[in-house]
């Protein structure tokens, strides 16, 4: 077993690195840049029941050390994904985490039913935190009762472990995490984007066609670290951490905060080779701090401080 190996429900990963949903399409574009089989896994773009065209352009805007996106869950629909996209990933032989979205509970349930039955899909990631669609998405992700209900129903039909992807746009992330844990989630993914906006100062108009968008990139890493740190002390679910990770150091910081695996989003746009480069760098950093297996890193910070944050 390699020293980078990590194991999460449904995800047996040779290293803790996987691209984040929506930042890597269904893999085929980046497969032209490098051999995807080096990855610990892959999170594919959100699937909805029917194909969606998404939001008007412009769909991205640049911010300081971050970016806004309002893609709007554009995707060809679950059926086409199962027919065309997922099979193309077969040769790489890596765990697939399938991101699921919908406008209604029924849609989420149906998409989960279909996609989780694919033998190629290792786990599903319930996206209840997309800030860029009018219905569904974030509205499930900011009310903990809706989130728990949805989790329960999706769990009931899913043939694979279910990770719930949490929104950072909440007053109390721990409450959300506990609610979905109780509802039967197998793991958490956190964080999705913060809702943000940029205006053109000359015209006063929003840059994005959708006006608001999701803020990602290094700018949000401190928020991600804090939320993962807090949640990891209060729930016992494994966490796939994400939010602004772009270096191997970031990965170890996030694992120290409590993540068991780490997803890389925006950084792929900065450097298409970022994932393999991080994976190559990790053993060197572990050597530097004298850690044998990367799985020991998870929650190192809270272990060190022993008492949970909230009781201090």
């Amino acid at each position: 077993m390699s020293r980078l190996h990590v194991s999460l429900p449904g995800l047996n990963m040779k290293n803790p690195i996987l691209p984040a949903s929506g930042c890597f399409g269904f893999g085929k574009e980046y497969a032209k840049w490098y051999d995807l089989s080096v990855l610990g896994g892959i999170t594919i773009k959100a699937a909805t029941l029917e194909g969606r065209f998404g939001n008007p352009t412009p769909r991205v805007a640049e911010t300081e050390s971050g970016m806004l996106n309002a893609i709007g869950l554009q995707n060809p629909g679950v059926q086409k994904i199962l027919e065309n996209e997922i099979p193309a990933l077969q040769p790489f032989n890596i765990p697939i985490l399938a991101n699921i979205a919908g406008s209604t509970e029924e849609e989420y349930i149906e998409v989960t039913r279909q996609i989780s039955s694919s033998p190629q899909v290792s786990a599903v990631e319930l996206n209840i935190s997309c800030p860029n669609v009018k219905e569904g998405g974030i509205q499930f992700g900011t009310h903990y009762r809706s989130a728990a209900n949805l989790t329960r129903k999706v769990k009931a039909v899913s043939e694979k472990p279910v990770y719930v992807k949490l929104s950072p746009n909440v007053s109390n992330i721990v409450e959300m995490a506990q609610a979905v844990e109780e509802a039967g989630a197998d793991g958490l993914s956190m964080i999705n984007t913060l809702v943000g906006m940029k205006l053109d100062w000359r015209t006063g108009n929003p840059i994005l066609g959708n006006k608001t968008g999701g803020l990602s990139g290094p700018a949000i890493k401190p928020v991600a670290i804090r939320m993962i740190y807090e949640v990891s002390q209060k729930v016992s679910l494994p966490i796939i951490g994400m939010g602004g990770v772009s270096t191997a150091e970031d990965v170890l910081e996030m694992m120290s905060a409590g993540a068991s695996a780490v997803a890389v989003g925006t950084a792929n746009f900065v450097n298409p080779y970022v994932c393999p480069e991080i994976i190559e760098q990790l053993p060197k950093l572990l050597d530097e701090i004298g850690v044998e297996n990367i799985s020991e890193m998870t929650g190192r910070s809270t272990k060190q401080w022993k008492t949970p944050l909230s009781s201090r």
Partner: protein
């Protein structure tokens, strides 16, 4: 499709806020199709994450040198304009699908229409077409004489008609105002510029065949993020991705 670290050989202001940057490195050898672009990183240790798509304006294969022309307008291109000879620029590319010639295009004349910062790729395209024996005419539209650039160089390739919005050089008006007089030979039209100009060109072109190169804000630049879509009625999916399906499309192929 590769990431290259190219060396700046020169980076000079050739018109108001317009910079000509020459870059060299082994990667240049692959940049042989006009209309393709490079996705350019504007700074390291920088707070500007997103790359800037810039068209290939010229390539000198012997010297392994690629030329980019860009307007320093926003923060990113301003940073780029600070780079001096010897510094490194990190680019992805060549990306996208450039201009291609259909078999039956070879005997026809070509009319190349560019507005503002849409002009650069027409230079490399013009050279290619000329080398295939095609007679090339350019219509280049600028805001004013201060914003104009490369006119001499275009003139070396073919007849070059200039329009300026304020009339300070050439015909006063837009590129479309200059189109009528040069469409008699039913040239193939190649056009690059803002969507609103492309739309006008397409309309003015009547039934003529041609190619348009589109612009849109990009994330990945390689087809993965769906930032740069454009609606189309000609494909089942209902959209194209400008970065990977384009940036060049046949006239009429996409909904402008």
């Amino acid at each position: 499709m590769k990431k290259h670290l190219l060396n700046v050989t020169s980076n000079i202001e050739i018109a108001r806020n317009i910079f000509e940057m020459k870059l060299t490195g082994p990667g240049v050898g692959s940049m042989t199709t006009p209309g393709q672009f490079l996705h350019v990183s504007v700074g390291n240790h920088s707070s500007k994450l997103l790359r800037r798509p810039l068209s290939i304006c010229d390539v000198d294969l012997d010297r392994e040198e690629v030329t980019l022309l860009y307007r320093a307008q926003g923060e990113g291109t301003k940073q780029l304009s600070q780079k001096s000879a010897g510094e490194i620029v990190d680019v992805l590319g060549p990306l996208g699908n450039g201009f291609e010639l259909a078999e039956n295009d070879h005997n026809r004349k070509a009319l190349l229409i560019g507005g503002g910062i849409g002009v650069p790729p027409l230079y490399y395209l013009g050279k290619h077409l000329k080398s295939k024996g095609i007679e090339v005419t350019f219509i280049l539209g600028y805001q004013s004489i201060e914003d104009s650039f490369y006119i001499e160089k275009f003139n070396e390739i073919g007849e070059t008609i200039v329009t300026t919005v304020d009339g300070s050089l050439g015909i006063k008006g837009f590129v479309t105002d200059a189109m009528m007089n040069v469409m008699n030979d039913e040239p193939i039209i190649y056009s690059v510029g803002p969507a609103i100009m492309l739309k006008a060109v397409e309309e003015r072109a009547g039934g003529l065949r041609g190619y348009l190169s589109l612009e849109e804000r990009m994330g990945c630049g390689i087809g993965a993020c769906f930032a740069c879509v454009c609606p189309t009625e000609t494909r089942e999916s209902g959209y194209v991705k400008i970065c990977s399906d384009g940036p060049v499309f046949k006239m009429g192929e996409v909904v402008l």
